[in-house]
């Protein structure tokens, strides 16, 4: 296989900032990406992840900071001289060119001799398994096929870095899973260094070697999927990682590792994630960590309100006597109106300070 990534040691983002008329879309992103790594930028829309990607691609000028590829500063280069591959959210295939010509475009621009160009195009086409569609135009392809063309076009140049901007968001659920595996397979076989932007935590967890969680232009946490999933850095990251229940309570008792919260007839003992000693705090619990019926520690009395059937189990929304909603999952048959007792092991309760410090709104540059 000759479609292979060109090698480099690291891509370094040094305080990369971008602001639009005083509003910081991205405030001082520091990130070092090693060769061959798959990094996902994760966050809701408006968190600055696409801005960050466009800054790396050269499609947006920085308003502060610098970008280095090994010891070469590249943030002043126009996109056509950075030689990064990019997969756009809407694929951005050239509608007036066949699949083959779309994929050959980058090679033509780089004046690769015809014989080699043809060979590399054919390789890229078979890499994404589009051989029988090579002569078609983008308008004649399905969404998943267009997606494959976009990927083949981006990797045909053997770029040191591939940037992907929510490439799966326009696909239906089945195709999305299929393409997700496909992207991971390409990453493994080609050793492509990839920066992947998504708002889907599941996609990020399953694809990436490292996650960067962003919020309003600033980094909340950088870590491996396991780290971010099991040890979210703050309340915001926890909310993004599936900690759907957030109870804000008073701190009653605090040690180094454990903390006890209480109030509203509720008492929860959990992991002290942010060294909280007094005042208010938030207990974050995943719906799947609740146990129904067995009254061990951390008891909650809940009235069932809405039950959604999910096949193997059910997703239930209940309400505490104080009126707060509780989401939990169970394989027991429950019906609206039932009263149940929930409990949750204390190591599954993460306690954070109620408000993560608001991110800076002015560009730091």
């Amino acid at each position: 296989m000759t479609v292979r990534a060109r090698q480099f040691d690291e891509l370094r983002l040094d305080g990369v900032s971008r602001s639009y008329g005083g509003h910081a879309a991205l405030a001082g992103l520091d990130l070092t990406i090693g060769c061959g790594e798959f990094v996902a930028l994760l966050g809701p829309s408006g968190c600055g992840k696409t801005t960050a990607l466009n800054c790396v691609a050269g499609l947006l000028p920085l308003s502060g900071g610098s970008i280095w590829l090994d010891d070469k500063r590249i943030d002043g280069l126009p996109p056509e001289r950075r030689d990064f591959g990019m997969v756009f959210q809407n694929y951005a295939l050239f509608p007036h060119m066949s699949v083959r010509r779309n994929i050959a475009f980058g090679l033509r621009m780089h004046k690769v001799p015809k014989a080699e160009r043809d060979r590399r195009v054919e390789e890229a086409i078979s890499l994404v398994q589009l051989n029988e569609h090579a002569a078609k135009f983008p308008g004649q392809l399905s969404g998943g096929q267009q997606q494959r063309v976009a990927i083949a076009r981006a990797v045909a140049l053997q770029p040191p870095l591939v940037l992907m901007d929510e490439p799966l968001s326009n696909l239906d659920a089945t195709l999305r899973l299929e393409m997700r595996t496909e992207i991971r397979r390409l990453h493994q076989t080609l050793g492509l260094t990839t920066v992947y932007v998504t708002h889907d935590q599941e996609e990020a967890l399953s694809l990436a070697d490292r996650l960067v969680v962003l919020r309003a232009g600033s980094v909340q946490q950088i870590g491996t999927p396991e780290e971010v999933y099991a040890h979210p850095a703050n309340r915001y990251v926890a909310g993004f990682m599936g900690y759907r229940n957030m109870f804000e309570l008073d701190v009653i008792e605090s040690e180094q590792a454990r903390v006890v919260l209480g109030g509203d007839g509720l008492k929860l003992r959990g992991v002290n994630c942010e060294a909280i000693s007094s005042g208010r705090a938030v207990a974050a619990i995943r719906p799947e960590d609740f146990v129904v019926g067995k009254a061990i520690a951390n008891r909650l009395e809940v009235g069932v309100e809405v039950v959604e059937y999910h096949g193997r189990d059910q997703s239930v929304q209940g309400r505490l006597r104080t009126g707060e909603a509780v989401h939990f999952r169970t394989d027991q048959r429950l019906a609206p109106g039932d009263d149940v007792t929930l409990s949750v092991p204390e190591e599954r309760v993460l306690v954070f300070s109620p408000d993560t410090p608001p991110p800076p709104t002015e560009a730091s540059g």
């Binding site: 499609l59 056509e80 591959g85 809407n90 509608p95």
Partner: protein, 302 residues
């Protein structure tokens, strides 16, 4: 309607559904007022004129007027005079609007002001433009005075009351149309296509040549056709800043002269029909070329 009673043995779907499948339904009735309007105010006068052109007032068979037009060099040449004005004017308007619209396609500060300035000549009308040109380009106008004062020329250059005056006038009044049309075609092209081309190593020249221009070309063909038709029927400026009895005696002047000064309505109609056919030939040629281009969606998916 007929299907309401329901026929259990019927294998064919109701007439209404079969018609609907071919896109015929009652909404088409909304077209009726428009069709009547076209028939009464356009189709009838047009066909009447065509009929008139085949019944010459001086007799000599149905084609006498057509023979006369092509035999008489004074009449025949008006056709070439018009082409010599309309083709360059339309071409210049389209070509000039491409870089302008391309530069203005992204939002920036002051875009609206600039666009307004470029479009203002539409509102001026031909007569005002002609007045301005006479004032500015005449032998004693500002331009010649300035050039003389700078000793760049020895005697005034003649820019009005000839071919150039009419061409300038056609460009000034025709450019805004071409510019607005090109701009709207250009804004229909997904800007991420150019971004994609850039990440693949294409500089701005390649991006324009391989991405924007091919996607814009069908729109440019239409823009050219409309600009050409506009310029081909040039009449006021040929009179006001041209040389209406000589070098800029365009075909519309010939038609006017025949019908309303010599009162030969039949010959006037003949000239008008010839004018229409000439325009149609050019438009057909341009559209035939357009037919060879890619005309599908020029935006991304989603």
């Amino acid at each position: 309607m007929t299907a309401a009673t329901g026929q259990p043995t019927a294998t064919r779907p109701a007439l209404r559904h079969r018609l609907a499948e071919r896109g015929i339904d009652r909404a088409l009735l909304l077209l009726v007022p428009g069709l009547i309007f076209i028939a009464v105010l356009f189709l009838y006068p047009f066909l009447y004129g065509v009929g008139l052109s085949f019944s010459p007032q001086q007799g000599g068979g149905p084609f006498a007027n057509y023979r006369k037009f092509f035999d008489d060099p004074y009449l025949r040449n008006t056709l070439w005079t018009t082409f010599r004005l309309a083709l360059p004017a339309a071409l210049i308007n389209v070509l000039a609007s491409i870089p302008m619209a391309y530069k203005l396609r992204r939002p920036f500060r002051g875009k609206r002001t600039l666009t307004t300035l470029l479009v203002v000549p539409i509102t001026l009308g031909t007569v005002l433009t002609a007045e301005g040109l006479l004032e500015y380009l005449a032998p004693a106008g500002w331009l010649n005075k300035t050039l003389l004062a700078l000793h760049l020329i020895d005697q005034p250059i003649e820019l009005v009351h000839n071919y150039w005056g009419v061409l300038f006038s056609l460009i000034i009044t025709g450019f805004p149309f071409a510019f607005l049309l090109t701009m709207s075609y250009l804004s229909g092209i997904d800007p991420t296509l150019e971004s994609a081309a850039a990440t693949l190593g294409a500089g701005w020249r390649e991006r324009f040549r391989f991405i924007t221009l091919p996607l814009l070309a069908p729109g440019l063909a239409i823009t050219f056709c409309l600009s050409f038709v506009l310029a081909f029927s040039v009449f006021p400026s040929a009179f006001l800043v041209g040389d209406p009895s000589g070098r800029t005696r365009v075909i519309s002047i010939a038609a006017y002269h025949a019908a309303l000064e010599q009162f030969d309505f039949s010959l006037g109609s003949t000239i008008a029909v010839i004018m229409t056919v000439a325009m149609l030939i050019v438009i057909a040629a341009v559209l035939a070329w357009r037919g060879t281009l890619y005309k599908g969606a020029s935006g991304g998916k989603g």
